[in-house]
Structure formats: C-alpha cells, structure tokens
Symmetry: C2
Subunit: 330 residues, 2 copies
C-alpha cells in the first residue's frame, strides 16, 4: 500500500518486557501495517532503543509511509515514567532506568512522541475502540503478573503530576494480608494477580487436588499460565476453579472501590486470565462488586471484558498520541 | 454597602440538616454579606424551599444587592442529587425526596442556579481559597456523622454521569468488619466516623476508662461530640486518645487508597473532629497513609487540614457556580 498524498499517519507502539509491537494507522485509525519482535531487554537500553526505532521504520516501510507523513508516535511502556519528559524512570521488567525514549525517537523521526503507561493506553484503546467505547468514565483492571489499573475520565487519562497513577493493584484490601511484591501486605495484587492464582493452584497440585493442571503444566509457576488454568478447570479441577473465583471475588472488591470513588459507566477487565476464562471471571467479579458498591450506584455501571486483546495497547497509544498532539487533552 | 454599578455578585448557599447559611460574594469573591438560620427540615420541603429563598433575599438586602445583579447561585446539599437537573433525589438528613431546588430558585431569582454535593463544594472551597489552593488534584476526607469524600481534578469536581461520587466512606477496608449505616460491613465510615469514635468512647466510659469524658459529656452519643472528645484527651483520658488514633489510622487507609488511585498533590482533612484535634489526627493519618501508599508516591502528596471551617461550603458553592456558569468546566 502506498502513502496517499497529504495523508497523515499515527504510529502506536507497545513496549513489553518480552516483546514489542508497532502498528501504523491512517487518519481514520485503520491499521495499515504491523510489525513485532522480541524486546531483548537484557541487551540494554541502548540496544533496545535502536531496535524500537528499527521496528517502527520497518513498519513504515511495509506500509510505504514516509517518515515525514507521520503525525505522531505513541509509546506504551511499563513504568514508573516521567510522562511529560518522556523518560522511563525505571522499568523493572526491562531493567531500564532513566531512559529518554521520547527525546531519542523525536530526534529520529522528527515528529511528536508521547510516552504513556502501558496499562493506561491499553484502557484508552478499549475506550476509543473496544469494550469501553463511548463511556464518560471507564476504569480498567488487568490482572496478570501483577494487577494493572487505569481510569479514563471524560476523555482524559487520569494521571499524577508527573507519573501515571490508578495503582489499583496496590490498594490495601486485607489488613495483615499476604506479602505483596511491592513490600507491603494485603494489596489487591497479592490476592488476585495471575501469579497469586498460579501459586495457589500449584499448592493445590502439590496436595493432589489439581491432577489435570499438574498433568498439563506441572508445578512450575512459570508454566502455570492462564490457558493451563482454564483448561484444568474445564477438565474438572474444581479446586482450581475455586481458586480463580476467590481471586475474582477480590478483584470485585477492587472494582467496588473504584466504583464507589469514580462511579464509572464501564469497568473493563482484561489480560490473559480474563481472556482464558471470561465468563467465570466476569460473573464472579460482578457479583462481588455488586454486593460492595453503594446501593444507589448499583445500576449505574457495567462490568465488561476487554475486546481488543493485544491490539489495545498499540491502538490506544496511537489514539492517545493524536489526542495529546492535537492539544485537546493531555 | 451599596451595589456598585455594573458589579456582579455570586451567592453561595450551604443547606445542612440543622442549619443553612448564605453568603453574597462580589466578583473578587470578597464576602459582602452573610446570613444563617435553622433549616427546620421537619416542616417539609415546601416550607424549607421558601426559607431558603427568604434567606437569600435577606442576605442580598443586607448587602444592598439587587437580584438582577446576581450572576449565579451555588447550592451545596447532602444527596444523592441529580446534579444537572438540580434535584435533591433524596436527603435522609432532611427527609426530602425529589425536590427540584434548582428550578424553584431559578424561577425566583432569574439567574443560573447550580446544585452540588455538600462535601464536594466544601472541598472545592478549600481548593479555590483554603488548604488545597493551587493543587492539580485534591482529595478531601471529612469525618463527621458519616465520612464524606470528594475529589477536585484539574479544576473539575469528579462526578458520576448524574450523581456525585467519591464515596470514600463506603469503600471496604475491613472484610467482615463492623456494620455500616449503609447496610454493608467494614466500610471506612463504620470504623472511622466521629459517630464510630463516640460510640467506642462511650463504651470506654462504661468501663470506667474515660472519666473525664463521662464527667463532661456523659454517655449519650448525642452529647459526645468532637469538642468533648478533644477536651477529654487533654484532661488525660488516654483511652479516648487511643480510640481517636485508631480511627485516624483507618482514615489513613482511605487516604492511601485515594493516593494510590488518584495521586493527588493535596489531601485535605476537615470536619468537626479534625478541627477539634488537628495535630493528633493529622499525625496519625499521615503516618498510616505513608506506610500504605506506593513507595514511589510517598513524596508526591501532602496531607493538610482544612482552613476555611464553616465557610468552605458557601465559598465553594459560589465559586463552583461561577466556574459552571462560565462554562469552562462543569
């Protein structure tokens, strides 16, 4: 496909711990080309930055889009980030600290580059084109290795002065509860992330209560992924189902807190665990949340699953770049 | 004082369960006159609406301001409210339901009337002229009979599609905790409102552990108000101090949740209990919150006490009316 004369393009980029992905969108946000490769974070920030630039160039070449036709690039990345400066302050998944990704890419591509939190832009993608489309206020919860959260309020991504926020995985839900990766106790993430679920399921496996899970994935947490959990439940491991429902019940506590505070129209649940067991998790989260929100709020929000899968991040990053560059919001 | 030619005025009105208050402000928001009287909610909505209109007229007369010089009236009121329609859907404190206060006052005064939640406009008052002045995002917690909460984000009062929100008193902080007035268990309000503190203090009095409190206020919850609690602590009732600190520790859990989600610059604590024991509560809330916020957020917010006292509501209502009428925000 050749660049149309005068047409402008937006690039969405999703920088993850293991892989990265670029998509070039036209002005109506139809995807024109896409490319992905491994991040290879262990090779260091300098090398990864070069790989990012190269992947964007490949993606533009594939679409036959000249760099001058790019109106802006949106990058989603784990944080903490300095949003305005466009600096990755530290990204434990990537082993990076103080990486000026915005400055580097702006120099390379001579267009505005917007850095945003990966969870926020995933939710923003769902807001512009997925499960949260048309909402006045949307809250997202994405249980995975951790539990990411975000909020889009009247078209803005809710943020701190410098950093992204809405760290719903780290609100305290159980005083003196289990230790969390962040060093504190009883965080929502500690009782409901996919890792917490996998650990509890492995324990059930050790006790001989999850034979199908052990057959399929063993007892190494690295192998007990969302798909394996879902398959084990279908095969009859009722204890695994109980464990997933217990995590979903806690996620519902987080949803209720978000609803009692922000009163969103839509709460989006996403990530691998939700994709693997959408009905089960949606049912349990909804029930748990409903019993904990203000009575008058019960019929004012809806809990839905994410619709865009892996594309949420790139779509959201590109759309957020447009929103930010056009200056309507930030 | 006579109306200056061409000068426009804003009226702030605070409608409470026991008393109501009106203040007329000039364009620079200097107060020009003020008036207050009892609400007499038991006489019914019709009578109260007439009393409201009469109090505003008295206040305008006192300032020698003609009704035509009023640019707008802001009314703060307990809810739930239909914010855009300006209807009090139900106000348990007042015994009202479906009262079209906006329509009535607009007909009477022929100027825009804005209805807002009393806690929200109290926080907005602190935002424009008190403890949260100049903040990008401010969260307020006002422990009293209940525990009210609000959030001002980049100049907007965070709200639901129809109703006010940020019901921080009703987030669950203690699974299977004490019953709350809302019918659920373990709400922040149930463990930290002034009423919860008064009940625990009366219990201590029964056990003979709070002699000074019992001397001064007896054991009737209606008489164990914030001032009595503060005086008992000063007189040496250490158990009462423990009880207040315990409530403050819980309020800190709520502050931490709000900070982990919204990452505000300023958290404002207000209401009678905070006014009576500002240092004690500020210290305990700050310590509790600090141990529960994301490590990277610890130095990005400040907890302060409210500065405007009873004036926060009227000041906030008048300023919010201006902001809304001028159409910059809603």
């Amino acid at each position: 496909m050749a660049t149309k004369k005068g047409e402008r393009y937006w690039v969405g980029f999703d920088l993850g711990g293991t892989k990265m992905m670029a998509v070039v969108y036209d002005e109506r946000f139809a995807p024109v080309s896409r490319a992905r490769k491994k991040t290879k974070a262990s090779e260091g920030a300098g090398v990864v930055l070069q790989r990012i630039a190269k992947l964007i160039k490949q993606c533009l070449d594939k679409a036959d889009v000249a760099p001058q036709a790019v109106a802006g690039i949106g990058i989603g990345c784990p944080g903490p980030l300095d949003l305005d400066a466009g600096v990755i302050i530290s990204a434990p998944n990537l082993g990076f600290s103080n990486v000026g990704i915005k400055a580097m890419l702006e120099k390379e591509f001579k267009c505005p580059v917007i850095l945003a939190n990966d969870v926020d832009i995933g939710l923003y993608g769902e807001y512009v084109a997925g499960g949260a489309q048309g909402s006045r206020c949307a809250v997202g919860l994405f249980p995975g290795t951790g539990l990411g959260g975000g909020c889009v309020y009247e078209g803005m991504i809710i943020r701190g002065r410098k950093n992204s926020c809405f760290e719903i995985g780290h609100i305290q839900v159980l005083p003196d509860g289990p230790l969390c990766g962040c060093g504190r106790r009883g965080c929502l993430e500690a009782v409901s992330s996919r890792l917490a679920v996998s650990a509890a399921a492995a324990l059930a496996g050790m006790r001989g209560e999850a034979p199908n899970l052990v057959d399929a994935a063993g007892m190494d947490l690295q192998n007990i992924r969302s798909g394996a959990l879902g398959t084990a439940i279908e095969a009859g491991d009722t204890v695994v189902e109980k464990i997933v429902r217990e995590a979903a019940r806690w996620i519902g506590v987080g949803v209720a807190t978000a609803v009692n505070l922000m009163l969103p129209d839509i709460v989006v649940l996403g990530g691998g665990m939700v994709e693997a067991m959408p009905e089960l998790i949606l049912e349990e989260v909804s029930r748990s949340a409903r019993s904990r929100v203000m009575p008058g709020f019960r019929d004012q929000y809806e809990v839905v699953t994410a619709k865009l899968g892996d594309d949420a991040g790139v779509r959201g990053a590109a759309a957020w770049a447009q929103t930010t560059v056009k200056g309507a919001k930030r």
